[in-house]
C-alpha cells in the first residue's frame, strides 16, 4: 500500500514537474499592459473652468485584452462626462454606444463602451472590432470644475498618463488651449512625472507638451498657470493668492528625488532586454525543436525501414503455395487476413473441424428455421488437432444438446443472462488467445526482429507524446509531423508479425485462393485438389470472405442448392456476429 502511494506520488510529481517546466520555459513570454503608439490630447479650457477634452489614442497592443481601456484622471470636486466615443475602423469613424440598461439592442460586441467611476479616476472601456490587438479610440469628454481659480492665478493641474497605468506610451502630444489670448509671459507650463519632455507656449493661447515616451512607473502631469480673468465665469476655489504656493511646489518638485523615475526607466529597459532575450530564445528554441522534430521523425522512419529489412533477412526458403493452404487452419487464415478472429473465425473453424470429421454440418433450410447445426461425431482422436481446434471442439461438446447437436443460432444467440455472456466472452477470448498463440509459435520473431518491434513501439509512443507536447507547448508547427510518424511507427511495430515472410507468403496464397474462387470464367478455373472436400472449401471461403462467391464453383455442395447454402451461411454469420458483438460489448 505504502509502495503504491509512493509510486502514485512519484508519477504525480514527475507530471507536475513536466507541467511546470512547460509553463516556465515553453510558453513564449507575453507582453502585458497596453502599448500606445500615438497619444494626442486636445484640451480646451472653457471660461467657466471646465475642460473640453478630446483624446485620440492609438493602441499598438491591447495587452491581450479584447477591449481598450482609457483611464481618465478625476480629482476631488471634478465631474467627468463622457460625450462621444469613437473607434477608427478602416479609416472610418464608428461611433460607440454606451453599455447601460435599456440600450442592449445595440451591437454590444462592436463599438460600445462602458464607464466605471472609481475613486480618483474614471475607467473607460471600449469594445470594438479590434484586430491583431490594435486599434484607435477617440474620446470626447468634459471635466467639470477642473481649473482652480484663485485671486491671482488660475491653475490647471491634470494627469494624462496615470502612474498606476502600467503601460507603455509613445509620441504623447498634449495641446492645451486657453479660453482667450493673453500675454505669453503670463502663462507658465510645468511638466511632471517624466524625465524627458518638452513644454512650449506657442502663442498667447496655446500650450503644447511633447513627450517622446513613458514607461510603467512614469506619469504625465501637466500644470498650467495662467491669468485668472480668463475663466471669469468660474467660481473662486479659494479667496487667496496661490502663485507663491505653486512656485514653492514646483521648486520642491524640481529638487525632489527622482530616482523612482530613473528606476522606472531602468526597469523598463531591463524588461525590454528580458523580452528581447526571451524572444531570441523562443526563436532559437523553435528552430532547435523544428530541427529535432524533423530529425527524429526521419530517424524513426529509417528505423522502421531497418526493421523492414530485418524482417526479410534469413527469409525462410520454404515456399507456401495454394496447395499448402490446408497447413493453415481457416481461423488462422482469418487472423492473417484481417488481424482478428470474430464470427468468421469461429464459423470457419467449425467447418474446418467438419472437414476433419469431428463434426457433421447440417444446413437447416426450412422456411421459418434456417441455420446450421453441427452433429458431433464420437470417438475421434484429437491428437493431431491444433490447440485452438481442440478447444473449439471442446466448446461445441460443452454447448451441444443431449443428442450431440450444436445449433449456432440457437446456442450462441440464446445467451441473454449477463453472467452467461461473461462466461462465453471469456471462452471466446481464450479461443482467440489460443489461435494467436499457435500463430505466434509458428511465426516467431527473431531476437533482432523483436528488438526492432519493441524499439518501434517505444519510439512510436515517445514520438507521439513529444509531438503532442512540443507542437502545442512550444508552438512548433513541424512538431506536428511527429504525430503521424509516431503513430505510423507504433502501428507498424504493433503489426510487425503480419509483415514477416511467414505471414506475407500465406496472405499471398490466401489472396490467390480468393481470386481463384471469385474468377467468373469457370472454364479456366482449376481448383486445388484439397478443395474437393466441401466442408474445407466452405471453411476457407468463409475465412477469406468468399463464401458469397460459392456459386462460381461448378459443384453441388452437400447435395444442396448453393443459393440456400449461401443464404444460410450469411444468416448464420450475421447471427453469430451480432451475438459475439453483444457478448464482447458486455
Amino acid at each position: 500500500m505504502k509502495n503504491k502511494s509512493i509510486k502514485i506520488l512519484a508519477v504525480i510529481a514527475v507530471l507536475v514537474i513536466i507541467v511546470f517546466s512547460i509553463t516556465v520555459f515553453g510558453f513564449a513570454q507575453t507582453q502585458y499592459g497596453y502599448q500606445i503608439s500615438d497619444y494626442e490630447v486636445e484640451v480646451n479650457i472653457l471660461d467657466n473652468g471646465d475642460l473640453a477634452v478630446s483624446e485620440r489614442v492609438k493602441y499598438s497592443f491591447l495587452g491581450n485584452s479584447n477591449n481598450a481601456v482609457i483611464l481618465i484622471d478625476k480629482q476631488d470636486g471634478e465631474e467627468i462626462e463622457i460625450k462621444k466615443v469613437y473607434t477608427l475602423i478602416k479609416d472610418k469613424l464608428i461611433e460607440c454606444e454606451q453599455l447601460s440598461a435599456g440600450q442592449w439592442d445595440a451591437n454590444v460586441f462592436n463599438g460600445t463602451y462602458s464607464v466605471l467611476q472609481e475613486n480618483n479616476l474614471v475607467r473607460l472601456k471600449v469594445y470594438s472590432n479590434f484586430k491583431k490587438q490594435q486599434g484607435t479610440v477617440i474620446v470626447h469628454y468634459i471635466v467639470k470644475n477642473a481649473v482652480k481659480r484663485y485671486r491671482d492665478i488660475a491653475l490647471l493641474d491634470r494627469t494624462f498618463i496615470l502612474e498606476d497605468w502600467n503601460g507603455y506610451a509613445s509620441n504623447i502630444d498634449i495641446e492645451i488651449k486657453l479660453p482667450r489670448y493673453t500675454d505669453a509671459a503670463n502663462i507658465r507650463p510645468y511638466l511632471h512625472g517624466v524625465l524627458v519632455g518638452q513644454k512650449d507656449v506657442t502663442n498667447g493661447r496655446t500650450i503644447k507638451y511633447s513627450i517622446p515616451n513613458t514607461v510603467p512607473g512614469e506619469y504625465v502631469e501637466v500644470r498650467v498657470v495662467f491669468p485668472e480673468d480668463l475663466i471669469k465665469n468660474a467660481q473662486l476655489t479659494a479667496p487667496r493668492n496661490y502663485m507663491r504656493m505653486v512656485l514653492e511646489e514646483e521648486k520642491e518638485y524640481s529638487e525632489s528625488d527622482k530616482s523612482h523615475l530613473l528606476k522606472a526607466r531602468e526597469n523598463a529597459a531591463k524588461e525590454a532586454g528580458k523580452r528581447a532575450w526571451n524572444e531570441k530564445m523562443t526563436q532559437r528554441r523553435k528552430l532547435f525543436l523544428s530541427i529535432v522534430s524533423i530529425f527524429t521523425s526521419v530517424a524513426s522512419l529509417l528505423i522502421i525501414r531497418r526493421a523492414y529489412k530485418e524482417l526479410h533477412i534469413n527469409q525462410e526458403t520454404e515456399s507456401f503455395e495454394l496447395k499448402d493452404i490446408p497447413k493453415l487452419t481457416p481461423q488462422e487464415a482469418c487472423l492473417l487476413l484481417s488481424g482478428k478472429i470474430g464470427a468468421r473465425g469461429v464459423l470457419a473453424g467449425l467447418f474446418s473441424l467438419a472437414s476433419k470429421g469431428f463434426v457433421e454440418p447440417v444446413f437447416i433450410t426450412e422456411e421459418n428455421i434456417s441455420g446450421i447445426s453441427f452433429q458431433i461425431s464420437e470417438n475421434q482422436n484429437t491428437e493431431h488437432l491444433e490447440e485452438s481446434e481442440r478447444y473449439l471442439l471442446q466448446l461445441i461438446r460443452e454447448y451441444s444438446d443431449e443428442h450431440g447437436k450444436f445449433e449456432i443460432i440457437r446456442n450462441i444467440a440464446g445467451f441473454s443472462d449477463t453472467e452467461e455472456k461473461e462466461i462465453i466472452k471469456e471462452k471466446y477470448l481464450n479461443f482467440v488467445g489460443k489461435i494467436q498463440s499457435d500463430y505466434s509459435e509458428k511465426n516467431k520473431l527473431t531476437s533482432n526482429q523483436l528488438y526492432y518491434r519493441n524499439l518501434g513501439l517505444i519510439l512510436g509512443v515517445v514520438l507521439f507524446i513529444a509531438g503532442c507536447i512540443i507542437s502545442v507547448a512550444y508552438s512548433v508547427l513541424s512538431a506536428y509531423l511527429m504525430l503521424p510518424v509516431g503513430f505510423f511507427v507504433f502501428w507498424y511495430s504493433l503489426n510487425i508479425q503480419r509483415k514477416t515472410p511467414y505471414s506475407i507468403k500465406r496472405i499471398k496464397a490466401l489472396m490467390e485462393l480468393r481470386k481463384l474462387i471469385c474468377k467468373t470464367d469457370k472454364k479456366d478455373k482449376t481448383l486445388p485438389d484439397w478443395l474437393n472436400d466441401t466442408n474445407r472449401l466452405i471453411g476457407y471461403s468463409i475465412a477469406i470472405r468468399a463464401e458469397n462467391k460459392l456459386h462460381l464453383i461448378e459443384k453441388t455442395l452437400l447435395g444442396k442448392d448453393i443459393k440456400i447454402i449461401k443464404k444460410t451461411l450469411k444468416k448464420s454469420l450475421a447471427a453469430l456476429y451480432d451475438s459475439l458483438s453483444a457478448i464482447l460489448d458486455n
Binding site: 507530471l15 475602423i89 451591437n107 462592436n110 488481424g339 513501439l457 508547427l477 504493433l494 456476429y577
Partner: protein, 418 residues
C-alpha cells in the same frame, strides 16, 4: 426570495431524481448524487454573489440574453406565437423568454435552470463513461470533476448559452453511443434516437454555427470507423442520415444565420449589409492572418499562469486568481495524461473515442483559428471540450497495454476487437 428558494429546492429534488433514475443500479450512486447536489449548491451561491448588485447590471453576454429574453416574454404575452418571435443572437434567449413568460421574469431562476442543465451534463458524461466500460468509480469521478470545475461553475451559472451548448454536445454523443451500443433497441427507438441526434445537431448549429461541422464530421468519423470495423448496417444508415441532414442544415440554417454570426466581430464599417461572400472573406482573412501553431497553443493553454492576474473579470481578486491558476495547472496535467488516453484509443481502435477525438480536434482548430487572441475568450470557448477530454484522462490502460505488448502478451489488445 421565497420564489428563489422554491426554484432551488425544486431543481435540487429534480437533480436527485434524475440521478437515481440514470444510475439506479450503481453502488456508489449516493455519493455521486451528493456531489452533484453540492455542485448545484455552489452554483446557487455563486449566482447570489454574482447578482448581489442586482440582476439588471451584472454580466456581459448573460445580461444581454436576459434583457432580450425579457423582450421575448413581452412578445409572448402580447400573443405572438413562438414561431413568429423576433429574437437576436441566439435561440437560447427564446428559451429563457418562454421561461419568463410562464414563470415571470426572474434571472435567478434562469440561472438556476442553467446550473441544473450543467449538472445534467455531468450525469450524461458519467453515463457515457459507464457505457464505455470505464470502472464505476472512475466514471463517477469524471462526472464529479466536470461538475465541480471552477470555471465550469462560472460559465454555466449565468444566463449564458454555454450550459446548453455543453449539454447538447454531451447528449449527442450519449445518444449516438446508445444507438450503437444498445442492441436491444427496437427499430422505432433507433429511428427516434437518430432523429433526436439530428435535432440536437440542428439546435447546436443554431447556438454556434460551426458546431454543425464539428459534430457531424466527428460523428461521420465515428460511424464510418465503426462500420469498417464491424460492417454493421445500422452504422451506415445512421451515418448517411447525419450527412444528409447536415447538408440540409448547411444550405438552410447555416446560410441564414451566417450573416448574424457574431463569434467573429462584424465589420461595422460595412453598414451591416455585407453579403455572405464578404462575411466568408472576412472569416478566411482572419484565419489566414493567424499563426496556426501559436493559435493552437493559445486555445489549449491560455490563460497562461502569468496571464491569469490580468483577466479583467478576476483582476485584483486573489482568491479567484489562485483558483484559476490551480485549475490551469490541473488542466495542463489533464492534457498530458490524456495523450496516453488518446494513444490507447488508437491502439484499441475504438471508433467512438476516435470520433470524440475528431470532435475535440475540429472544435479546437476552428476556435483556435477564429477566436480572438484573448486569454479569457480562449478560456471560455475551450470549456466545450473539457467534458469530452475527461474521457481520455487515463494513463493506466495505455501503460498496461504497452507493457503487455513488450512483454509478449499482445492478446490483451487484439482480443477486445471483434
Amino acid at each position: 426570495m421565497f420564489e428563489q428558494i422554491l426554484w432551488m429546492m425544486f431543481l435540487m429534488a429534480l437533480a436527485a431524481i434524475v440521478g437515481v433514475l440514470l444510475f439506479r443500479d450503481k453502488p456508489n450512486i449516493i455519493w455521486f448524487i451528493i456531489f452533484a447536489e453540492l455542485a448545484l449548491i455552489i452554483r446557487f451561491v455563486f449566482i447570489f454573489v454574482m447578482f448581489s448588485n442586482g440582476t439588471e447590471y451584472s454580466g456581459t453576454d448573460g445580461l444581454i440574453y436576459h434583457q432580450l429574453a425579457k423582450d421575448i416574454a413581452r412578445q409572448l404575452k402580447s400573443g405572438i406565437p413562438v414561431w413568429n418571435l423576433k429574437y437576436e443572437y441566439t435561440w437560447y434567449t427564446v428559451l429563457v423568454g418562454i421561461q419568463y413568460a410562464i414563470f415571470g421574469i426572474n434571472r435567478y431562476a434562469a440561472s438556476f435552470v442553467n446550473s441544473f442543465i450543467s449538472v445534467l451534463t455531468g450525469y450524461y458524461l458519467t453515463a457515457i463513461a459507464l457505457n464505455l466500460k470505464l470502472k464505476e468509480r472512475k466514471a463517477f469521478l469524471i462526472g464529479t470533476i466536470y461538475m465541480l470545475i471552477p470555471s465550469m461553475i462560472v460559465w454555466t451559472a449565468d444566463t449564458r448559452k454555454e450550459s446548453l451548448v455543453f449539454f447538447l454536445i454531451i447528449m449527442i454523443w450519449y445518444m449516438s453511443l446508445k444507438i450503437i451500443n444498445n442492441r436491444e433497441l427496437s427499430v422505432i427507438r433507433q429511428v427516434l434516437f437518430i432523429a433526436g441526434v439530428c435535432v440536437l445537431i440542428w439546435l447546436s448549429t443554431l447556438l454556434r454555427i460551426y458546431m454543425l461541422y464539428t459534430l457531424s464530421g466527428a460523428l461521420f468519423v465515428f460511424l464510418m470507423l465503426y462500420y469498417i470495423k464491424t460492417r454493421r448496417r445500422l452504422a451506415l444508415i445512421f451515418c448517411f442520415t447525419i450527412i444528409a441532414f447536415s447538408l440540409f442544415i448547411n444550405f438552410t440554417t447555416v446560410r441564414n444565420n451566417m450573416r448574424d454570426y457574431h463569434a467573429l466581430a462584424m465589420d461595422r464599417s460595412k453598414s451591416g449589409d455585407e453579403d455572405l461572400d464578404e462575411e466568408l472573406r472576412s472569416i478566411f482573412t482572419t484565419i489566414m492572418e493567424k499563426d496556426l501553431a501559436e493559435s493552437i497553443n493559445s486555445f489549449l493553454t491560455k490563460p497562461h499562469l502569468e496571464e491569469v492576474p490580468y483577466i479583467t473579470d478576476i483582476a485584483a481578486n486573489t482568491t479567484a486568481i489562485i483558483i484559476v491558476k490551480a485549475e490551469m495547472l490541473l488542466w495542463y496535467l489533464c492534457l498530458i495524461i490524456s495523450i496516453f488516453g488518446i494513444m490507447h484509443a488508437f491502439i484499441k481502435w475504438d471508433p467512438y473515442l476516435i470520433g470524440i477525438l475528431a470532435f475535440i480536434v475540429s472544435y479546437g482548430l476552428i476556435n483556435a483559428l477564429i477566436s480572438e487572441n484573448v486569454p479569457d475568450t480562449y478560456y471560455r470557448y475551450r470549456a466545450a471540450i473539457i467534458a469530452p477530454m475527461l474521457l481520455f484522462v487515463d494513463y493506466k490502460s495505455f501503460f498496461l497495454d504497452i507493457k503487455g505488448l513488450i512483454m509478449g502478451n499482445s492478446s490483451r489488445i487484439r482480443t477486445e476487437n471483434l
